[in-house]
Symmetry: C2
Subunit: 403 residues, 2 copies
């Protein structure tokens, strides 16, 4: 696998653009991704019972099985907008389809921003008219900018892998920041690839990869109304079809997982107000599901997150969060340690506190990237989850204005 | 029912005391509750897999069915302290038992404070020796002070009710503040009554009442290792035994529910750093369980809590939190409104946004006590949950020092 610069336009046959359509005051607020030909598509959406209108539209596109384009707007989530919202999503897809010479059923639509306010369709329609002729292979970064809300940097990743003697590329972009929590982490993400792969295989790969990437991150425990991860595979690499269970599938998975994992970690690094990046590694748990529950519970705990904000080696809160995770494990067997570029310190051994030097612990926890390792000493399953600290800025960002 | 001043010593035959034993720097840190005779006992404990040593000890006391006293310390949770912790809990009970002329199996022990540090048994033992001779019918308030950690005020409540022509009294005290979340809300609480009632009936009443009181509050989503609610019923009122399903049971329930409900609301009012008290009322849900899930999810959402901190009528986050609650409901039927002493404002009607005056909304949400009402228009079940806003102070309290 080769890690590449670039993002959604790295694979062959994808073009993109990002513009300011007037939904936000000054920043870019609309993006388009267009494939040169019909692409096989897979997707996962929010598990929230309150689904934004574009999510409902996109579930129909996914059923159709083929897609040509995605239109995204930021600044307004088109959620809790009733029948009008659904009609607006369909209208947006329809206008893009006519401009791109395809059917509206092949155009995904995404929205992110404030909930409960109807879309300004005049600006959306004029935005789509500007966007569609503008897409190019150089437009990936601008598209990544246009989908941001409170994000402080764009999330982009790409990788390539040889399938036989054909180079196949995967690219992706995401937006995150607030309302980020496991169960289809609250975010928008778009993955493109020029691989030849069937819809069934692609959907299977997406489901398995999301479990270990986007579903293992948490910023604030809120699962949004708009969570979306859409994959387009246009086949333009011309490789022999990637079949489930083959060596080629594993190789392709590696690149796919790199892109989704990189985007997921970028989202937590850029959590609203986050000052520290927390990686929680659970090993030797009884089952994969137990390992996942333990890791996710720790990065989701407000008390753990506040302790990391204060660089406090408060491992009791970590044991506590593992305890209420719902996972099966024996607390009396657990080893726990903190690691950062400044060193490693063990704080619990076989469930018992290990005396440690508070100054050394502080030095380790003052770093910006910290790994917590919990060894359960019971089974052979492991999992990793990613999160961030809880800061004054999180409260300010989410208390001071409607977002 | 008559609402009374006082707390755990309001019922006949209960004495209490609170002292400074040196576990905390200056504040009171040990309390005792003593019944004049053996009392029937019921209790519920944390669902956390990591249980503090005193919780494990207390589960044994509960099995015995009768109790005489409770010894509580703050400043140290005696959690994650291994075999030593269990021995320390037993030693504490044993010393109190010999001073009170009872068996150690009839003495409950509770601890609250930092996790993972062994108890200073010298101070605990000397504390118990000071406490036991000191208990009196006037000591309820001092005991309530001594169980506090980051609490800013004591939580005390009492009520009486006539059973036949005999007055029966219920009293209670609690500590809360951090690590407060549904599923045996993270807190210590002690309920006393002079009622004649069987253990089975008392345990049933406790389970049912906790469901609608302590289990409906949330401060920060963390379920602690030490959650405890202990009830002692010493029978000294001399009423005819309260039997399940009778009119007398209902009357006694009312007083019991008043005490637990009052303590639960006090805990959220005093949530760490809390500036606002949020009441979430769900009506006409499909089932009681759906109503509970909806109400709890809203008061537990970091994004909702941050919006209340900013007095922002961000009802979209409320719909979103209802959506991921796991409850069965139809978002398109929901009515949503905010009420405070400054007025009422409807923001959603049949799932559609209702245009409202932002200044009026701000005026309503600037009040200290706010009720959110969600009418599901689907069934006949209702539930109420209580929470607080997420503030800079919560982050400061939990980030700045180990608690």
């Amino acid at each position: 696998m080769e890690i590449l610069e670039g993002s959604i336009t790295a694979p062959a046959g994808f073009a993109a653009a990002g513009i300011h359509a007037g939904l936000k005051k000054a920043k870019k607020d609309m993006a388009a991704i267009v494939s040169a030909c019909d692409a096989v598509t897979a997707a996962t959406f929010t598990t929230n019972k309150v689904k934004a209108a574009p999510v409902i539209w996109d579930q129909g596109v996914l059923k159709g099985g083929m897609a040509r384009a995605v239109i995204v707007n930021s600044g307004n989530a088109n959620a809790c907008t009733g029948e009008d919202g659904l009609r607006d999503a369909e209208t947006t897809a329809g206008i893009a389809a006519s401009l791109l010479g395809t059917e509206k059923g092949k155009v995904y639509v995404s929205s992110t921003g404030v909930i409960g306010v109807k879309l300004d369709m005049e600006r959306i329609v004029s935005g789509v008219r500007t966007l569609c002729p503008l897409v190019s292979a150089d437009g990936g970064h601008e598209a990544a900018e246009a989908i941001c809300t409170t994000d402080t940097f764009t999330k982009e990743a790409a990788a390539s892998v040889m399938i036989g003697n054909v180079k196949v590329t995967v690219g992706g972009m995401a937006k995150g920041s607030g309302m980020i929590h496991p169960n289809m982490a609250t975010m928008l993400s778009y993955i493109t690839t020029d691989a030849v792969i069937s819809q069934e295989t692609l959907q299977h790969l997406l489901g398995a990869t999301v479990e270990d990437t986007f579903n293992m991150i948490s910023v604030d425990g809120d699962t949004s109304t708009n969570d979306t991860c859409i994959v387009l595979a246009n086949g333009m690499a011309g490789n022999a079809e990637i079949l489930y269970g083959t060596k080629e599938y594993e190789e392709f998975s590696e690149a796919f997982r790199h892109v989704l994992g990189t985007l997921a970690r970028m989202i937590t690094r850029d959590g609203e107000g986050a000052g520290r990046f927390i990686e929680m590694k659970v090993s030797n748990a009884l089952s994969k599901e137990d390992a996942r529950k333990l890791a996710r519970s720790v990065v989701s705990s407000s008390l753990v997150k506040a302790a990391f904000f204060g660089s406090d080696a408060n491992w009791g809160r970590i044991m506590c969060a593992m305890g209420y995770s719902g996972a099966d494990f024996d607390p009396s067997l657990v080893d726990l340690s903190f690691t950062s570029p400044a060193g490693t310190i063990e704080v619990v051994h076989s469930g018992d506190p290990v005396p440690f030097d508070e100054d050394e612990a502080k030095r380790i926890l003052l770093e910006k990237e910290i790994t917590v390792a919990a060894d359960c000493h019971q089974g052979a399953s492991s999992a990793v989850a990613w999160g961030c600290d809880l800061t004054y800025d999180y409260v300010r960002i989410n208390g001071d204005y409607r977002s």
